[in-house]
């Protein structure tokens, strides 16, 4: 019918964003035991949008429209179910009504609600896995199917996790109120950990659908910023956001046009996202405010050192090695040690790095394809091509993604024609 004034598409992720905010609002209103009802209320509002917007046009303030419709359906639900404390809920809704739609106060209230919601989802009494799924479902506005796709899990597994988490909230009477004092500090750690896990899931080079993984990184970054820009922010929260932003800036450059993996050093730096790097450095500076050096600080420092280098030759490897030393001290995991070995090779040569990798293999990482890949790479640098080839071959027998497999095969070929070594 060609009404030119109507926009063709809506604001990106409008529904997902608003769903998260609204679920948080209604979860507080109904109480955390009625999380399902909050989700249904929001779903109904979006369904109404689907039924009317194509025919009557998109309302000027689409977010406020969704919120108003959800509020009306909440009123119905409170009356229909004769909910306990229903009168107080109705009064609260009415109070919201009298506030102008774009009032900064209500914006602030929604942000607070969302923050509270993350704290409840990441409650230490809920398992980490369930916290991640519940945060994505409620605050993130992801569906069970989308979460399952991102985690390469089946839908039933994710659905069960969510049911279990909601039952724990009900049975243990977990509160949606913001914690204070010493409890706040601990609970904030769990929140940051949950956000970190969401980010890592999106960032890890597993198989899976790229789009949904990028969405996870974006969502983790959004939640991180929500915490880091709130009144309860800490240097640690800023360090987490810095690390995520600086790493996410490289997402697009990790694969080339042909879909092949590109190592960090060889990435086209023009494809790094300048805006995210700027955001990363902003939060990195804020993260220096205290004395505490956390795992996120060390990781952010490593990412920042890479981001600062204009080209592969000017990467300050001694700095990176030092940050890895710090990181290893805070988190003595074999995976961190393996990553550190790459920096050792740059600073002290492949021989020394190889010794460290061999040591690691004896400890824990025997069947980890990345260890074999790194060792193959170091051996290749030392000109020990047949040993290198044996490592790449062994790595290819272990589970890894298709792009990683192709990468290993290219390395294997390089072993056979050493002149073409990368």
């Amino acid at each position: 019918m060609g009404e030119g004034s109507q926009p063709d598409i809506l604001l990106e992720h409008l529904f997902r964003r608003e769903a998260g905010r609204m679920v948080a609002f209604f979860a507080r209103l109904f109480g955390p035991a009625h999380l399902d009802l909050a989700e249904e209320t929001v779903q109904e509002a979006m369904l109404r949008a689907l039924q009317t917007w194509p025919y009557q046009g998109v309302p000027e303030n689409a977010a406020a429209w969704l919120f108003r419709v959800a509020r009306n359906s909440a009123i119905d639900a409170i009356r229909r179910r004769k909910m306990q404390a229903g009168e107080a809920m109705l009064a609260e809704i009415a109070r919201g009504d009298s506030i102008r739609e774009v009032d900064p106060l209500i914006e602030e209230q929604l942000r607070d609600d969302e923050l509270r919601m993350i704290f409840m989802c990441a409650h230490p009494e809920i398992s980490e896995e369930a916290s991640v799924a519940l945060s994505l479902k409620t605050v993130g506005g992801f569906s069970v199917r989308e979460i399952a796709r991102a985690f390469l899990a089946d839908e039933a597994t994710i659905a069960q996790r969510l049911v279990r988490a909601k039952r724990q909230i009900r049975e243990r009477g977990l509160s949606i109120e913001m914690p204070h004092g010493e409890e706040l500090k601990q609970r904030l750690d769990s929140v940051l950990e949950t956000i970190y896990l969401i980010f890592n899931e999106g960032y890890a080079a597993h198989e899976g659908e790229d789009l949904i993984r990028r969405d996870l990184c974006e969502e983790a970054l959004r939640l991180g910023q929500l915490v880091a820009t709130s009144s309860i922010s800490t240097p640690k929260a800023n360090a987490l956001v810095a690390m995520m932003a600086l790493q996410a800036a490289r997402l697009a450059a990790r694969v080339d046009e042909a879909g092949e993996l590109v190592l960090l050093e060889k990435q086209d730096r023009n494809r790094w996202d300048r805006e995210l790097i700027g955001l990363g450095f902003h939060h990195f500076n804020l993260s220096m405010a205290g004395d505490e050096v956390t795992e996120y600080h060390a990781q952010a420092a490593i990412a920042a050192t890479h981001a600062r280098a204009g080209d592969a030759e000017s990467i300050e490897w001694p700095w990176i090695l030092q940050f890895y030393d710090q990181l290893l001290e805070i988190n003595p995991s074999p995976v961190v040690a393996l990553n550190r070995a790459v920096a050792v090779a740059k600073v002290r040569g492949p021989e020394e790095a190889l010794a460290e990798v061999d040591h690691l293999e004896k400890r824990k990482l025997r069947d980890y394809y990345l260890l074999l890949a790194v060792r193959g790479h170091l051996l290749l640098e030392l000109g020990r091509t047949s040993e290198a080839a044996a490592n790449f071959e062994a790595a290819l027998k272990l589970p890894c993604s298709e792009p990683e497999r192709r990468f290993l095969r290219r390395k294997l070929e390089a072993c056979r024609s050493p002149s073409a070594s990368e």
Partner: protein, 113 residues
Amino acid sequence: MPLYMLLLHGDPKAWNSLSPEEMQKATERYMAWVKKPFTKDAKRLGDDPGKVIRKPKGSQPRTTDGPYSETKEVLGGYYTIEAASYDEAVNLALEHPQLDYGGAVEVRHVYGT
């Protein structure tokens, strides 16, 4: 150019399993259809299948529940589109989002157009 009516049948409950992101995609796709140059009119009907009125011979008119009570599908809306022929109308209808969300599209020629 001749006009054709697209009658959209579907199960209103089919939307319940969609995520917010998918709901937004669906909304955008329907919005795009309403704005197609060949779309002359587009209307949605209520989800409640409503009542059907009949007047059996020799008695008073009677209303019964909608004719779709046995199936989950209801007539959810209608679009009037312009197309050169019935086949072209069908071809256009093949792109309608209704088909991707478990619904059906009935294509009917509007007489005299």
